[in-house]
């Protein structure tokens, strides 16, 4: 008797092709983003967010710890918010989120665009979008 597929372990289901690897990547990158967002949120509270920022500002920082996101707050100085540590955290979050998000858009598009040619265009566009967003985002993080 064959086991129900949903109760098979990850190992038994196998990770042979690109789609299966991206399926796992989507879930692991979600956990990675949770870690980075909680790290940024904790960092904001340690650096004095409680008395100088409103809720929306703290959330903006947590989801993308880039110094331009806290420039309109009551902070006396944003120096500690622009260290390489935060730029690296922001870069990691950007790259994870872009890969996770662009692949997600491809999955959504595949539900509506079912032709072979259309799907090839979707993939081409997705690679262009992912490269462009990663590069522009990194440029913004490291120059702001």
């Amino acid at each position: 008797m064959t086991k129900k597929s949903r109760t098979l372990s990850l190992k038994q289901r196998g990770l042979m092709n690109f789609e299966a690897i991206m399926w796992l990547f989507t879930r692991l990158s979600a956990l990675g983003m949770y870690a980075l967002i909680l790290f940024a949120l904790t960092g904001a509270l340690v650096m004095g967010a409680r008395n100088n920022m409103n809720f929306a500002d703290v959330m903006r920082w947590a989801f993308m710890p880039n110094v331009s996101h806290v420039q309109s707050t009551d902070l006396a100085s944003t120096d500690t918010w622009a260290t390489p540590l935060w730029k690296l955290t922001a870069s990691a979050l950007l790259l994870l989120a872009t890969a996770h998000g662009v692949h997600g858009l491809v999955v959504v598009a595949d539900d509506y665009i079912t032709g072979e040619r259309g799907r090839r265009y979707v993939r081409l566009l997705s690679i262009l979008l992912m490269t462009a967003m990663s590069l522009i985002g990194l440029w913004l993080i490291w120059t702001s």
Binding site: L8, R27, A30, G101, L105, L140
Partner: protein, 124 residues
């Protein structure tokens, strides 16, 4: 050749499946919403000037903040539920319970956030 669909889009939208259906469609709306928002936000910040400022101005509006926070928070909480259940597939037997827990986490967190955003935006 593409797949053949047996139902129209309007029939599809009116479909009410078991518990997972609402979370599925909200996860999708949240994901696409964030994709559009982040892409436009990155481009607007890159272009800068009056055009970029006008686009980024929309994002500081409280109504937009509530919408995008719904997308982000729901996508994050639902995504964590999907991740946990997919990495530990034995738990899939408790899918309806997991979705109830998910709403029990999402509704208070989102409600409190909306209250705080509105208080800051309208109360000054």
């Amino acid at each position: 050749m593409g797949l053949k669909r047996d139902v129209s889009l309007s029939t599809g939208l009116r479909y009410r499946g078991p518990a997972g259906y609402l979370t599925f469609i909200l996860h999708r709306i949240g994901g696409v919403g964030m994709g559009i928002f982040i892409a436009m936000h990155i481009l607007a910040s890159f272009v800068g000037g009056r055009f970029g400022g006008a686009i980024n101005g929309i994002y500081e509006n409280w109504a937009f903040q509530i919408f995008i926070f719904f997308c982000v928070l729901f996508h994050a909480i639902n995504g964590l539920r999907i991740t946990i259940l997919d990495l530990f597939p034995k738990l899939l037997d408790y899918l309806p319970e997991a979705i109830w827990i998910e709403w029990a986490v999402f509704i208070p967190l989102f409600g409190l956030s909306v209250f705080v955003i509105l208080k800051t935006a309208l109360g000054g």
